[in-house]
Symmetry: C2
Subunit: 84 residues, 2 copies
Amino acid sequence: MEWHSWIGYLAACLTTLSFLPQAIKVITTRNTQGISGLMYVMFVCGLVLWLIYGLLIEDTAVSMANFLTLLFALPILVIKSRNG
Amino acid sequence: MEWHSWIGYLAACLTTLSFLPQAIKVITTRNTQGISGLMYVMFVCGLVLWLIYGLLIEDTAVSMANFLTLLFALPILVIKSRNG
């Protein structure tokens, strides 16, 4: 594997896993005050499309990364939509 | 262009532009209470690496999408780090 591929993998890990602390924070505190609901509506729709795209082009990295991010982003959207 | 490429482009537009309403909300209200600072530290680092990766592999779509997202995510990180 070429060295710059590692930069791509590290980038993918960071952007994917970054939603984990936000999900933990929202799940434990239920505080969604500063969070934009519209952001998470658009973001979750985008992730679902990325997942479909990854499956269509049979790219495991794209599918897996977006499936994982979806796991973290979905509870944020659900709790935000309940809190208003 | 194949039809499923459009799904990829739509997905990229949604996940990139989703940070615009969050950036507007944080810039106008300065309310960052529910937002995880750690999320934005990891996310911004990831975006910088994606941008470097896009430039290295000379992929304009990867570079542009991550540069745009960085424009939206950076003010959120700056305001969050000031608010604590």
